[in-house]
Each structure stands twice: as structure tokens, then as C-alpha cells.
Symmetry: C2
Subunit: 339 residues, 2 copies
């Protein structure tokens, strides 16, 4: 509806919990790169590679390149309620897409938290997605490609013995909330990863923190460790740390640094059915005790104990991802991080 005489003016009349049918009103959206370094390669032997059809490709890696940068995309709501920017960091082999949309096409936490009034920054870590990746002279080792069976166990969808190449014959954990009809779409968003880039990833995350924080960090899986490390190095910049099934790895110094950073560690269902996640959970319980002993604040939130059942490791994509988002939002509100 346009009303003459009031050009450029917006009257926004909306409830605080915008539903997915309501418009998303942004004061800005965009992206940028952060971090990385310039590397000059010289003296690398050039080679010729035979291509199909008889063409020859000359491969020459000598030159100066931008490497180890990180990609960051943001959406900033007009009606801001979160007191600080909310940074969402993805897990191993994944990109910011984890948070954008679910494999079955519902809204992800990116949209949900923008609708809740948070300035959301989703990133593709060094080596992943739009961050790009570097040649073997820079990235040691080889890229790891993820086959279709690996997420079944690693993302805690079902017992290893309950996997089948036939989608109809797979038997997920009873009551699992993952949208298995769209399992093929989950596979499409998994990208190659390296085993040797952790230090570069953390450097770029610190650059991001220095650029956009103070902030709230929401980390998942592999980035749990990165988030815990980064928070320990920039404790004054991190107003809260939300860890979705990630490992809190650190020493007494790390723990002491975090005493003023409220931390929530969130776990889904069927942890006891996975040796990896049982061990991670037990280790985090110990780390939580150490953080508390140092005067810190840390809550380990087991969703099933709140009556929220069936969540996998990919809870930001699960059918009840909105319910889990509300648990996070409520915790952030309890920490007085919501206006």
C-alpha cells in the first residue's frame, strides 16, 4: 500500500515473534571477506596434464595468491532486539548453508533469528564454500570427501547397522526429527575439508571477531572447539557462547579466561546410543565443572530432559528446529541479551 506524501517512510506494525508468513524487514544484507594472507609460490615445477578429448592442461602454481580468507554473509533486521550481533559458525565439512535453509526447504536458524530481531552473521570458514581453498603447496594433506553413509553415524541419525544404501530400508532412531526424505539434499551441501587447516580457520575467526564483535557466538560440532578457543582469546568480545554438540577443549588458562562468558552447551537425543557423542558429552560435563569452579557460568542443556525429543546432531535442520531455536532464544533472554 502506498500513501502519497510520505515517500521513503516505513510504518512497521508487527509482533515481536515474526512468523514465517510475515515479511522480513532488513536494514541491510550483504557479505564480506575477512582474514587470510598473501602467499607467493616460486620454484614449483610446472606440469602438463592430459584432459579427456586430447586437450592438455598446463599446471603451474607459481605466483602470488590470496589464501585462507573466510566468507561472511549477514542480514540485519530493521527491528533489532538482540543486543549484539549473532555469529553462526558451521561444523566440519559444512558451510554457512547449514543455517540458511533445511534440506527439506523449511526456514533455517538464519531466517529464524533474523525474524527474532538478531543481526545474524553466517560464515563459510577457511577452505569451505565461498571462502575458496588453496593448492597443495599451501594446504598440506588431501581433501576429505564425505560419502553418503558417513553422516548417518556422524550426525547421529541411526545405528550404523540400521544404514542401507536403499533410502526406504534405512531405520533411523525412533522419533528422529531429521527430515530423512531430504537426506540427498543434505549430502549436496557437504563440501570437501582438510585435516590440516585448523590454525588458519581459527585465525580467520579471530579476525571476524575483531571486525564485528562484541557478539554472541553460536557454534556447531567442529566449530565448538574453535568457538571455545576464540572466546578464550577474546573473552571481552564474546557476550555469550552457544555450543551445539561441540567439544569444549582447553586447559586451565582457557577455563580461567572464560569466567565472564555465559556458555550454553546444547545436546539432542540418543546421545547414549553414540560412543563419540557420549564421550564428548562426558568430557564437556567435566569441562563445565572446571569452568564453574573458576567462577564461570555454563549450562549443559539436554533437550530430552526438557521434553524435546528426537533431535539429531543437525538440530538446526531437524523438523522441530524452531523449537530448538526458541530454547536458545530463551537462554539468551535469561542472560539479558535480548532487548
Amino acid at each position: 500500500m502506498r500513501i502519497a506524501g510520505l515517500p521513503g517512510m516505513i510504518l512497521l506494525i508487527a509482533g515481536t515473534m515474526a512468523a514465517s508468513a510475515d515479511p522480513i524487514v532488513l536494514r541491510d544484507m550483504g557479505s564480506f571477506y575477512v582474514g587470510g594472507r598473501t602467499v607467493t609460490l616460486s620454484g614449483v615445477s610446472a606440469r602438463e596434464v592430459q584432459l579427456p578429448g586430447g586437450q592438455v592442461q598446463r599446471v603451474d602454481h607459481n605466483g602470488t595468491y590470496a589464501v585462507e580468507q573466510m566468507y561472511v554473509q549477514y542480514a540485519l533486521p530493521q527491528d533489532r532486539r538482540g543486543k549484539f550481533p549473532l555469529l553462526m559458525w558451521h561444523g566440519g565439512g559444512l558451510t554457512g548453508v547449514s543455517y540458511e535453509t533445511t534440506p527439506d526447504g523449511r526456514e533455517g536458524w538464519f531466517n529464524m533469528f533474523v525474524r527474532k530481531g538478531w543481526d545474524v552473521y553466517v560464515s563459510d570458514a577457511v577452505e569451505r564454500g565461498r571462502a575458496g581453498w588453496a593448492m597443495p603447496e599451501v594446504f598440506a594433506g588431501e581433501p576429505v570427501f564425505t560419502d553418503e553413509q558417513t553422516p548417518w553415524v556422524n550426525f547421529r541419525f541411526g545405528e550404523a547397522s540400521a544404514w542401507s544404501p536403499d533410502p526406504h530400508a534405512r531405520r533411523p532412531f525412533a522419533g528422529s526429527q531429521f527430515p530423512f526424505d531430504a537426506y540427498a539434499n543434505l549430502l549436496k551441501e557437504i563440501v570437501p575439508r582438510w585435516l590440516t587447516t585448523n590454525a588458519a580457520i581459527v585465525r580467520a575467526y579471530l579476525d571476524l571477531i575483531d571486525k564485528v564483535c562484541p557478539c554472541v557466538l553460536l557454534v556447531h560440532s567442529q566449530s565448538g572447539t574453535f568457538g571455545f578457543q576464540a572466546a578464550a582469546q577474546r573473552p571481552d568480545k564474546i557476550k555469550a557462547l552457544v555450543v551445539i554438540e561441540g567439544t569444549l577443549r582447553g586447559d586451565a588458562t582457557t577455563v580461567a579466561a572464560l569466567k565472564n562468558v555465559p556458555i550454553a552447551v546444547i545436546y539432542g537425543d540418543n546421545i547414549d546410543k553414540s560412543r563419540n557423542f557420549s564421550e564428548q558429552h562426558a568430557s564437556n560435563v567435566k569441562m563445565a565443572a572446571a569452568v564453574k569452579a573458576a567462577g564461570g557460568s555454563i549450562d549443559i542443556i539436554d533437550l530430552p530432559e526438557m521434553g524435546i525429543k528426537g533431535n539429531s546432531h543437525m538440530m538446526m535442520m531437524d523438523k522441530n528446529n524452531g523449537e530448538v531455536a526458541n530454547v536458545i532464544e530463551d537462554w539468551l533472554a535469561a542472560k539479558r541479551l535480548v532487548e
Copy 2:
């Protein structure tokens, strides 16, 4: 501003040409994957690779993988004025980031055309960015990495002889509109590419067209050829084709198929100073004559002839990218594609 009693209602009072200070009001934003195939590798020799620090990586590519999918991100304005979705396809070694934001942090064509009222879909083609990429058993040949000097000539920023490793000593074409202070950021958004994936890229683009079109295609550089091919294969689905300095490559059949698709080919400045672009321009002029002879509609728009000077091959990032966007919008309006 909230007004009690009218929950969920939006009164939008804005001019038709929203400026960058105005909010962006979306009825939806999100992403999805399209295309690709499942491949099963067996009988591939597993290897062990030595990592720095003494760790050993076991490399085993046997298994079933999702490959050759494409990533698509969209923003759909509440106040829609473009009659059809607008698909923006990037050039070689690039991703959808080309259109999002400029290297110096201004708004890109993604935001600009959303503000103009177009449903915009930006993609990362097969092998690029969030689309992921596949192992050597699937992608023949080796990835090509782009060094810092290559865009200088390929993107027509200056004479090859005017390049210097020292940013302050580089001499761009007089009056160039590219934001050279942010050249380092341009390098960060260039990703590895392959020379052998064109067929897979086109297949995924056709899958995208089948999913979201009828539409308007805006293509750049390498994707000029892809867009011209795709339009020839789905002429009923393509309501207009805007080619930013891309090659129109086809035969009499291609040309005949396109007689009902309005085409604009847009060129920046200093074409005569580049042998590659001079040849491409001359070739496109011939192809345009063939399209017209077959009854088609094609305009070759040389921006300098309209008084718009200094544009590089990366005109969606140039300082006057808004002016170029307006040329495109005006052409689309002339083709009656704007409400």
C-alpha cells in the same frame, strides 16, 4: 514503531526506487540445491598421505557421493515489480558473491535488483563455492588457481605492462571505475575452477531453469555461453537474456531457437585495448546479425556510447555499478518486463 491492535500488519510507504538507506522488505529469503547426480566409486586404490607433524591421512575415495549439484540463494521482495524471477549467473572462477557486495563493501546488483522489486536468484555453479566439488575420479584434470595478476588483464583493468606487484605502482586504464583500493578483496572471492566441467554446469543450470522459470537470465563472462546455450534449449522459459561481456556461441539452430527471446549484450569501456574482448565483441556483433536475420531481437549496448565511461569486465562491482544496473533495468522495462 509498534501500534497496538494491528499485529502482523505492515504498512509500506516507499518510492519505487528504494535507496540503499531504505529497509529491504522481503516476503522470503533462503537457498536450495539443484541438479547433480549420485556417483559410486569402487576399486579405487586407497593411499596413505604423510601430514606435517607425523600424522598419517588415509585417502580412500571408494563410496557413493553427491556430485555436480549447484547452490542457489534467493531474496524475494515484498513489493514485487519484476514480472519474472531474475537469475544472476557468475563468471569463471567466481561465485554468486560477484553480485552480492562489491570488493569495497558497497551494495551489489543482488541488493539493487531486490530493491528494484525483482525476485533475485544468485547461484554458485557446479564446482564453485557452496556447490562443492568432486574428487579427481569425477572431475578430470586439475583445478586452476588464479594468481593476483591474472584478473588485471582478464578483467580489463589495465594494460599488461601497467601491472605491478606493488598496488601503488599499478596504472589502471584512465578513468577506470573499478575500486582498485579493494583489489585484494576481489582476489579473495576468486575460487578454483576446472576446465572439464562445462557440461555438468549447463545440466545444473537447466535444472534450475526447470525449477524456477519462466525468468530473466543475467549472465556474465563465462556464463554468457552457458546462458546462450540454456536459452536456446529452453526458449519458452527465458523471457529475456542480459549478457554482461559474454560470448554468444551457437549455430544456426541455436540462433533460430532464440528468435522470441529479447537479448541485450552489455559492454564496458576500453574494449579496443583488449584483444580478447575486441574479438569477443566482433564475434557477438556477427552473432547478433544472425539472430536478427532469424527474426530475433538483440541489442549490443556499448556503455561508452551512452556516455557511461570507464567500466571494466567486472561492472557489477565498479564504482558506478548502480548506473549500469539502471541501464539494465531500463532495457527490461522497455521489454515490458517490469510491472
